[in-house]
């Protein structure tokens, strides 16, 4: 059991922290939602009603979509763009998809390579982009969910203010949809840019996300 926990500490710790943060969001979100309802002379809602509400769902999905967009972009853009001196970048002369030899694909696949890496047909093409495809697909699904739950949440507030509801297409052109979307995108893009640049000059001893403490500022694609 100890071996399992040690071997999976990163995934388990972040998984547990995710659940706790989501629970905290539910508690704070319900309190804020109910405060608005009470102000409007309406009846506050319980936890089950809040957790299944569009208000909670849109707040969750707007953050999820931007996180998956961040990883999708990071995975895809770092194929082609490099950052000299950053451990987040590959060496500056390696921009691009790289050769079969470097990627261990086709005839260069090893005995322990995934089977689709050794294939010479569409399976290798799909597997070669599977990480970006999955992250991009989850991003699109979460963004779509944000739009659907967002229009429901928006319309609930519209009705509370004695205003007419809008349909999904109209909502996509409304400032609220883009405000929710872009405020999340900008923060994710800032975080990626900060990480790519700060990791050139700063170190975190023992972290695989950092260069070794003594590595030069100019060494690129070296992780500790």
């Amino acid at each position: 059991m100890r071996g399992f926990l040690y071997d999976n500490g990163l995934g388990l710790a972040f998984g547990a922290a995710f659940v706790l943060a989501l629970a905290g969001q539910a508690i704070a979100g319900r309190a804020e939602f109910n405060s608005d309802l009470i102000t409007d002379g309406l009846q506050p809602v319980g936890y089950l009603a809040y957790l299944t509400s569009s208000d909670f769902a849109v707040d969750v999905t707007e953050n999820w979509q931007s996180e998956y967009l961040q990883f999708f972009l990071y995975i895809s853009v770092t194929v082609w763009l490099v950052q000299r001196g950053s451990p987040e970048s590959k060496p500056v002369d390696k921009a691009g998809l790289e050769s079969d030899h470097e990627q261990l694909t086709g005839e260069h696949a090893r005995p322990d390579s995934p089977r689709w890496a050794a294939a010479h047909d569409w399976r290798q093409a799909v597997y070669s982009h599977s990480l970006g495809l999955v992250m991009g697909t989850i991003f699109l699904m979460c963004w779509f969910s944000q739009s659907v739950t967002g229009v429901a949440s928006y319309n609930e507030k519209q009705l509370r203010r004695l205003e007419a509801p809008v349909d999904w297409g109209e909502y996509l052109a409304r400032a609220e949809f883009w405000s929710r979307t872009l405020q999340n995108w900008q923060s994710e893009l800032l975080a990626v840019a900060s990480m790519a640049v700060l990791s050139i000059y700063l170190r975190q001893r023992g972290s695989p996300e950092s260069k070794p403490v003594g590595a030069s500022h100019s060494s690129t694609g070296v992780e500790g």
């Binding site: 002379g41 009846q43 809602v45 949440s153 609930e156 009705l159 004695l162 007419a164």
Partner: protein
């Protein structure tokens, strides 16, 4: 059953429950709107007041300085006719009638009318004869 099948089952169950629940909520909200209109048409002010949301009822009584069933007699609420369209989002609803628009909210005691005698004003909120705070 694998995790994917379990997740699919859960999503289907949630979707089915949510959709079933939405139809039910729309029917319940419509019934409250119809009850309000029938009471208005029949001059049954006590029933009319019982269908009003607490905040709206309080506002009606405060502005008229009379009990609700007397206060609503002086309000110029139009006879709305039949319900032509319902919008339900969460605990809020709008009932578009032939000659009026009602806004409703869900309480433990069921759907209640929060505003009535409402006229649209473009991008502005509806102008309503009676409404809550």
């Amino acid at each position: 059953m694998g995790p994917a099948a379990a997740l699919t089952g859960l999503l289907l169950a949630v979707t089915t429950t949510a959709c079933g629940s939405l139809d039910e909520r729309r029917d319940d909200a419509r019934a409250a709107a119809v009850r309000f209109e029938q009471a208005l048409r029949g001059g049954r002010t006590a029933v009319l007041c019982a269908v009003l949301a607490p905040g709206t009822r309080e506002e009606v009584e405060q502005s008229a300085e009379e009990p609700c069933d007397r206060a609503v007699e002086g309000d110029r609420l139009p006879a709305g006719g039949t319900v032509r369209h319902m919008d339900v989002y969460g605990d809020q609803a709008r009932a578009v009638l032939e000659h009026d628009t009602l806004f409703l909210a869900h309480f433990d005691a069921g759907w209640k009318v929060t505003a009535a005698g409402c006229e649209p004003r473009g991008e502005q909120p509806y102008q309503c004869e009676i409404k809550g705070r």
